[in-house]
């Protein structure tokens, strides 16, 4: 990491849901440019909630989130403008079923960046090529397999040329034989220097692509460090316990 520019800076964020659950308990984390950050931890530990506060799909109850030095919760901040620079990929894909694959990719750049249809088509097609699905441009989402849908969803985010990509368990809803194709696309992105924050249960993948791993439990970050440390010499008991459970399950 030669470039130390902070893209995301989470400062003492807590999140209490309306039903009273404490989903995030005083969490801090930062993401530098070109860094791949992976969040792991048991279900319900708050990883997804933390990821969703990064683009304000969840607004923090306490604390602040900064993107490029701008506070997301500040009243003068145009969150829509910031979200254009943050791609997000969901567990459930959420492609737009009434639009063709090509239109799924074009709709945001055409509506927001005021690109002409022609310009947007060129960008979109190059993104489809990147995820290996250019031949599906004319198809509709429900004609695709899960793995293809997720690759399209990644391409859709990329058409906005984001500065960072957020992945919320991108392979958890996939059949096992389709996990690989999605992880390959993400690997490729990481190699190209995309800044990424990934919530995942794929431990091998996490170890392979992560620059920094954060381990969460009960709304707190219990340990963070390089994958070598986290996966081979975890420092805390809770982290050891979690990793033991995950490996036993395999």
């Amino acid at each position: 990491m030669t470039n130390h520019k902070l893209i995301i800076d989470v400062k003492n964020v807590s999140k209490v849901f309306s039903d009273g659950t404490l989903a995030l308990d005083n969490v801090s984390l930062s993401v530098k440019k070109n860094e791949v950050v992976v969040l792991i931890g048991p279900s319900g530990s708050g990883k997804s909630t933390l990821l969703r506060t990064l683009n304000l799909l969840e607004s923090p109850t306490k604390g602040e989130v900064f993107f490029d030095g701008i506070s997301l919760t500040d009243e003068t901040t145009d969150i829509n403008l910031l979200r254009q620079k943050m791609g997000m990929v969901f567990q459930g894909f959420h492609l737009f079923p009434h639009l063709s694959v090509l239109d799924n990719l074009r709709i945001a750049p055409v509506s927001l960046k005021k690109l002409s249809i022609h310009e947007a088509t060129i960008t979109s097609e190059s993104m489809l090529k990147k995820v290996g699905l250019l031949d599906k441009a004319k198809n509709y989402p429900n004609q695709l397999s899960g793995g293809q849908k997720q690759r399209i969803a990644i391409a859709r985010s990329l058409t906005m040329s984001p500065e960072i990509m957020l992945f919320d368990e991108p392979t958890s809803a996939l059949d096992p034989e389709m996990v690989g194709e999605v992880l390959n696309v993400m690997r490729e992105l990481a190699l190209q220097g995309m800044t990424m924050v990934i919530v995942t249960h794929e431990m091998q993948f996490a170890e392979e692509v992560a620059d920094i791993v954060y381990v969460m439990d009960k709304g707190q970050i219990i340990e963070s460090g390089s994958p070598e440390i986290i996966f081979h010499q975890p420092q805390t008991e809770r982290c050891k316990e979690f990793l033991k459970r995950v490996i036993e399950k395999k």
Binding site: N80, L82, R83, K85, M86, M88, H94, H98, S111, M160
Partner: protein, 225 residues
């Protein structure tokens, strides 16, 4: 049974006038009702609790009371003076139309709201996470999907409305049921005149509902492609 009045051009004319009035009432009410309903449904999505409460109450009260009672209340509320267009007095139409607008808009607002809510929450999140505004997301992502659920239900509402225009006879609007009553009092053919009216209503509602079923099937098909 004596249906010989159906051969008399005088009675035929009365019936056809009633039929035309009924069709006009239904079409105009569904058009205006839809516009009001979209407004109500959209306002009910707003953050303001007061607005949501008022409109929620509006929808529930209108749907929870009989349309005849509503008509009589609006009729006595308005006290419309005679409005002559040619030799035709339009004054009974005012409370009548008002009742139909209000009534249909409440039912349709609920249909539209349900249609919008039936779109997966993930669609909102995916669109907003791309940076699209609330309004853009609604127009380009949510509404085009919701309309598939809304259209068939609106068609059913239209069929219901065709039948409900009959309550306007109480306020003296010369629609189909009113005309049947008039024929009854002149021919004393009690059952006959209402059987004819019923047939006319069915001839309006049945093709409409068949058309809606076909539309529904086509929308369902386009979902799979």
């Amino acid at each position: 049974m004596d249906f010989s009045f159906l051969l008399d051009p005088y009675y035929i004319n009365i019936l056809l006038q009633g039929l035309l009035t009924t069709v006009i009432l239904a079409v105009v009410s569904v058009a205006f009702g839809t516009v009001i309903a979209i407004g109500v449904a959209l306002l009910r999505m707003m953050k303001s609790k007061i607005i949501r409460f008022i409109l929620g109450a509006y929808v529930e009260i209108i749907r929870g009371t009989p349309i005849v009672v509503q008509l009589i209340i609006f009729y006595s509320l308005f006290h419309v003076k005679v409005i002559l267009v040619g030799s035709y007095d339009l004054s009974p139409f005012i409370p009548g139309m008002f009742t139909l607008f209000i009534n249909s808009s409440a039912y349709m607002a609920e249909v539209i709201r349900a249609g919008i809510n039936s779109v997966d929450k993930g669609q909102w999140e995916a669109s907003r996470s791309l940076g699209m505004t609330y309004g853009m997301t609604f127009r380009k992502i949510i509404f085009p999907q919701a309309i598939k659920n809304i259209l068939p239900a609106l068609g059913n509402e239209f069929v219901t409305l065709i039948k409900e225009t009959s309550v306007l006879m109480y306020s003296g609007v010369a629609e189909l049921t009113y005309q049947a009553t008039m024929i009854k009092s002149q021919t004393y053919g009690f059952m006959e005149s209402y059987l004819v009216a019923a047939t006319f209503y069915f001839l309006l509602t049945y093709p409409t509902s068949q058309l809606m079923k076909r539309l529904e099937r086509r929308l369902a098909k386009s979902d799979q492609s």
